[in-house]
Symmetry: D2
Subunit: 87 residues, 4 copies
Amino acid sequence: MAKETIDRLRRIEGQVRGIAGMIEDGRYCIDVLHQLSAVKAALRRVESEVLKNHAATCVEDAVRSGDPEAQREKVAELIDLFEKQRR
Amino acid sequence: MAKETIDRLRRIEGQVRGIAGMIEDGRYCIDVLHQLSAVKAALRRVESEVLKNHAATCVEDAVRSGDPEAQREKVAELIDLFEKQRR
Amino acid sequence: MAKETIDRLRRIEGQVRGIAGMIEDGRYCIDVLHQLSAVKAALRRVESEVLKNHAATCVEDAVRSGDPEAQREKVAELIDLFEKQRR
Amino acid sequence: MAKETIDRLRRIEGQVRGIAGMIEDGRYCIDVLHQLSAVKAALRRVESEVLKNHAATCVEDAVRSGDPEAQREKVAELIDLFEKQRR
């Protein structure tokens, strides 16, 4: 997952830099706002990758460990994360 | 959880009925839109209640069962749900 | 717009009532959560209808009035609404 | 608006670079996900600044112009933008 996700983050970095440049150039606000929407959409894709990776690694480790406390902790973390995202 | 959540849903039902009445009465669109936002916020609170209840019951049962497949299924369901909500 | 939007709100009312019934019947939490997502999606469609109707009527009236203050008020209302929705 | 908004975008750029670093360092996924949420929140603040600036400049120009077509175009752009953001 890492390489692909890091590449995506580099592109997002460039997009953010590009938006700053648009504002410096006095580009039309609506165009800037659409670019900001595009960056948020790209971040959501990164979130999806990280989330799926988390399920396949950290959460899977807790399942294999057979340790109920480790498993409860993983579930609580996920629910806490999603509660924050939906606010 | 059930009684409190069902009461909240009854109130939401009433709010939705109220919005239909606002439109029938030709009420100002912006007021209708703010009411729609309020209903969505109330639904998010119901989601939180149901999600926390799910963690404390269904997911907890899977943890206690010690059955890795049941646990994996619970995690996959949660991730699938949150992926849909973030689209 | 009204008839179509009111019909949609009636259906949403029924969906909310249905969710309360699911909880009373002890239906699986994840199914309830997916239904809640469906109701929120339906509400977003109602929002779109009301918003477009607002633009075509109330905002259009302000444009035709040629009254700058009325126009500023319309713009301020829209921006306030969207700020709230994005929180 | 520009200076403050550009500074905010520079910080966001740094945050995105930091997240890539977290992933390279194998930091815990949940910490990465919370950082991604923080970046999205920061982007929403930039959106608010740009939107308010747009209302005070471009939209205000259309109001002062007294040109109904220019005003209609501004309203249509705003509604289109918010429809995209709510999808």
